[in-house]
């Protein structure tokens, strides 16, 4: 039997694991200790031996509950290895002057959730959708790290100029991170206008007062949004060109 989650939504309903996560947990319950410890090191999702991170979190918590420190420690170590590799991709050195520090902070914050004094439901969301919960953790860290960065160092070898069309998907992984970094470093009001219009697809303004737009979301006029978008574009171009 798979232990139910205890974290609740604002409606009072319990969060539920997706059916495929529950099935994957059930499939691991007959595995031997040695098999679990071997498979937790498999990081290729395409492999038959791959254990979903949601399963790993479940098994680590179960082993901790049973006082099995050897098993919980082995699985935790495997999870950290995977997460650390994920962070090398999502917070590469091109992303921040303090990328290594940011990656370590994310890992440490995840580790803290497994400590005995953590909230009992602190890891429930990691058993629902690990990727989303881990992204939230990363955002918390990047928010503080980015706030303390002082300036940019030009990072893109300009083979494909990513500033030529800011709405287009950047061509390379580095360019994508450079753009993400540059957006993080925009003043909050510019960043907000840029993402609401370009990612969420809000209209700048509307004649219908009931329609939600970037202007209503930001509490300013349509003209102010247009000004912010223009400034955001100029700043991003400047940053991406290393000026």
């Amino acid at each position: 039997m798979v232990r139910p989650l205890t974290k609740r939504k604002t409606t009072g309903d319990l969060y539920q694991r997706p059916a495929e996560v529950t099935a994957a947990i059930e499939a691991t319950q007959g595995l031997s200790r040695a098999e679990l410890l071997r498979r937790c090191r498999v990081s290729d999702p395409a492999s038959e031996d791959f254990l979903r991170p949601e399963c790993l979190v479940y098994m680590i918590r179960a082993a901790q509950g049973d006082g099995d420190e050897e098993l919980s420690g082995g699985l935790l170590s495997g999870l950290f290895q995977r997460c650390s590799a994920m962070l090398m991709s999502t917070i590469p050195n091109a992303r921040s002057q303090r990328a290594a520090d940011a990656r370590q902070q994310v890992l440490d914050r995840l580790a803290d959730k497994f400590l005995a004094d953590a909230k009992p439901d602190a890891l429930d969301m990691f058993e629902v959708r690990f990727g989303v919960a881990f992204r939230s953790l990363r955002i918390d860290v990047l928010r503080s790290v980015t706030a303390t960065e002082v300036d940019l160092v030009p990072l893109v070898e300009d083979e494909n100029d990513p500033s030529s069309d800011l709405r287009a998907e950047p061509v390379t992984h580095d360019a994508r991170h450079t753009l993400a970094r540059a957006i993080w470093q925009l003043p909050a009001e510019l960043r907000r206008a840029y993402i609401l219009v370009n990612v969420y697809g809000y209209e700048i303004e509307s004649v219908d007062p009931e329609t939600e737009t970037a202007a209503t979301k930001c509490g300013v006029s349509g003209r102010a949004i247009r000004d912010r978008l223009a400034k955001a574009k100029r700043e991003l171009q400047s940053r991406l060109e290393g000026k």
Binding site: T11, S43, Q81, S84
Partner: protein, 210 residues
């Protein structure tokens, strides 16, 4: 699934978590819905939606295993173990594999039998309680209070006892490649039904209010 009455004012963390998990890729419809439902958190929701959108674009590549990533993972593990050790030192009865004070194990046979009878329990149920084979969160408060009273110890000694990991019986034999593991913990209700209790005893133990 039991639904609890929603709280009147959810915390910011609860609202942002719900927003992040509502759908794979947040969109304007979802953001509008949440800002209408939680107007007090409009600013934070918009900012978080912006941050989620930025970060989602960075996740489209495979993990990169390097010596640097391995070293970072080991540092996290080492820090975790140090922190866990510190916590165990501060609170040796919670979350600790070391034996917690076991107020039942130290009882003599006669005393144990008397308490078993007064609790309407059976020797098997007492053994499960002694070895912490019952999940602590399922044991009714009234039962823990009564047990503490019968044992002549403070309530928090009993709470700490049940919060500790299950005991592995010394007689358990095992193959060399597998560490012995305690049996899976049962709920209090399951333990009552599987401990050789009469129907009358079960009724008493199940029927009392928490």
């Amino acid at each position: 699934m039991k639904t609890e009455k929603p709280k009147t004012s959810p915390t910011l963390e609860e609202v942002l978590t719900e927003f992040a998990f509502a759908q794979d890729k947040p969109d304007a419809t979802l953001l509008n819905d949440f800002t209408r439902r939680f107007p007090a958190y409009t600013e934070q929701l918009i900012e978080y939606a912006v941050e989620l959108a930025i970060e989602a674009t960075t996740e489209e590549v495979a993990p990169t295993h390097t010596s640097e990533s391995s070293a970072a993972a080991m540092r996290a593990m080492s820090r975790f173990q140090n922190r866990q050790f510190e916590l165990q030192e501060q609170s040796p009865t919670v979350g600790n594999a070391a034996p917690a004070t076991n107020p039942i194990a130290s009882l003599g046979t006669t005393k144990l039998r008397e308490i078993t009878q007064r609790l309407n329990a059976s020797p098997v149920l007492m053994m499960k309680l002694r070895d912490r084979l019952i999940r602590a969160d399922t044991i009714p408060s009234w039962f823990k209070v009564q047990l503490a009273s019968e044992l002549g110890v403070a309530n928090d000694i009993v709470d700490a006892h049940f919060a500790a990991p299950a005991v592995i019986a010394m007689a358990v034999s095992f193959k060399a490649d597998r560490k012995p593991q305690a049996a899976p913990k049962e709920s209090f209700a399951e333990a009552i039904e599987s401990s050789g209790l009469t129907l009358e005893q079960q009724t008493v133990l199940k029927g009392s209010k928490v």
